[in-house]
Amino acid sequence: MGFNAPAYHIFPLGDTALTIDYGNSIDENINKEVIARTQQLKDNLKGVIEIVPAYSSLTVYYDLAALKRKTPKDKLVYEHLKQTVEQWLEQPLLQQETAERQIKIPVCYDPVFATDILAVAKANNITVEEVMAIHLSRTYRVFMLGFLPGFSYMGEIDERIAMPRKPQPEMVAPGSVAIAGKQTGIYPLASPGGWRIIGRTPVKLFDAEDKEPTLLRAGDRVQFISITRNDFYELENDPLRQENG
């Protein structure tokens, strides 16, 4: 509301994709514009393979061979698509915002799982309990998915618990809730990772068998709920645990 369309610039990402960049920032209003524009372009652009939204940019992957047939001779496919994209971006969005999905995710902050919570507490001169309370004190926007299937980049966390990523990535267990800089996220799969682990959720973030394989989508709002270790093990063994999400 009262928010003007932000400025952007378009650049080629190789010869089969272009990125629409709204500046190098983590900003909710810009991310809302990114997600709305992703939908608008998905609905309207032809010859496009897929569109991937990120924090403050969206990338359009296109079918170069198919678009070549629709591009005037002696004109670059890239230039032609870029102009079409610019025409759509000049149009006001029919729907500025889609309703935010609210998703609750139970997290156990026990140091058994939260292998870096003590380091985060020490680095910020607070207690482990305070790290937990501060992390729980707000809800987070899912700005984007990336890195791993279903990995959510959420933000922004309170500066009082912020800590940069580790210098070297280490193996991380699935379900690990982590922070890096002002971001928080959840590792859906076992993977090397550089974020600081402050908890673990028993909820499945990724299920290849599911029609919608990821629990979270860009634009969701996540609320973490603190659970005990006993709750964690109970939920982990509950076949319906996804319903808790």
């Binding site: 990402l13 010869d15 569109i51 992957y61 998915l145 989508r217």
Partner: protein, 329 residues
């Protein structure tokens, strides 16, 4: 069952041209490293060019055919043999029941592709046959092929008559793949969005040095060894979309080229992008090989890609015609 793995290879997986439409969920496209070669293998056996093929790394798996079929091997030349007799790449080959296909050594290239007439009897995951090892999904059980794996043929066509009593027949036409003859170090690139943040010295190094593909290279990416490259800024960049062929500058001042199993998004500076027409050539390079980057522009990049696609189309028309003639003879 129709095809059995009797010896496991280093890393042999089911691939097609890739899984698109799920990158917004963090699910990367996977797919063949050398898509052109994967398509050529399919074309040679009369398949749709996006059928599932087996991508082979050396040492490659050995295969046992439980019924006669038509196969083709493309991409890298790993000295294939049928029942111990050497057979050529890039030809359709009729093989009889109980034949064994083996690979004996690397003549050239890094990845070979095996296609079987009619395709493999697998199910797609998110619209693609490609194996996603991290997600344990797609391909055959979401993993690399192992000894005793069995995969069915989708179309069981009776080829007994064609093959008669021979063990195998190499059909007398070969796919012409000009991009495979180019063994120079030259890889064409387009500037990336953060190219201008490199220091002048580093820009010079980028085009003048040779970059060696390190042993820490895999389907995700090629890590390159060179003198360190530096930026003239310390500004971090927030994650955004990346592409096959994107060349990123890592915190250790070394480059990585993103390949088929690359992540969907990345936050490292994008120095340059390898043009699509050079992806196949790049995919056939291996650790220890040197790369020399040469800048080009979008006009040339698009033009080379279109020419390659046209060549592939002509190849498909010619092969389809020859195969039909042969089958109906």
């Amino acid at each position: 069952m129709n095809l059995r793995i009797i010896k496991a290879g280093l890393l042999d997986t089911i691939q097609d041209v890739g899984r698109y439409g799920s990158q917004h969920l963090g699910i990367n496209p996977s797919g063949a490293m050398d898509k052109l070669s994967a398509q050529v293998a399919n074309i040679l056996v009369g398949n749709d060019s996006n059928e599932a093929v087996i991508e082979l790394h050396f040492p490659a798996s050995s295969f046992f055919f439980e019924q006669p079929t038509l196969i083709a091997v493309s991409g890298a030349d790993f000295s294939a043999s049928i029942n111990g007799e050497e057979v050529p790449s890039l030809h359709p080959i009729l093989v009889s029941k109980y034949s064994i296909l083996q690979f004996h050594g690397i003549k050239n290239g890094a990845r070979a592709y095996l296609a079987v007439h009619g395709g493999l009897n697998l199910s797609k995951w998110l619209d693609s046959y490609s194996t996603h090892i991290k997600a344990v999904a797609g391909g055959h059980k979401g993993r690399a092929l192992q000894k005793d794996d069995e995969i069915g043929f989708r179309i069981a066509r009776d080829l007994c008559q064609l093959i008669d009593k021979k063990e195998y027949i190499v059909l007398p036409w070969q796919a012409d793949t000009p991009w495979n003859y180019d063994h120079t170090e030259e890889i064409y690139v387009l500037p990336g969005n953060e190219w201008d943040t490199l220091t002048d010295t580093s820009k010079e190094k980028f085009t003048q040095q040779s970059f060696i593909i390190s042993t820490q290279s895999d389907r995700m990416g090629y890590q390159l060894k060179s003198e360190p490259l530096l930026r003239n800024t310390t500004e971090e960049i927030v994650s955004s979309g990346v592409n096959f062929g994107t060349i990123q500058l890592l915190p250790g001042a070394q480059l990585i080229i993103l390949m088929a199993d690359h992540q969907t998004t990345g936050g490292y500076p994008k120095v340059a992008h390898v043009i699509t027409a050079h992806h196949s050539k790049l995919a056939q390079m291996k650790p220890g090989d040197a790369i020399h980057f040469q800048f080009t522009d979008l006009t040339i990049a698009e033009d080379l890609f279109i020419k390659q696609q046209r060549h592939l189309q002509q190849l498909q028309d010619a092969c389809t015609f020859r195969l039909q003639q042969f089958m109906n003879a």
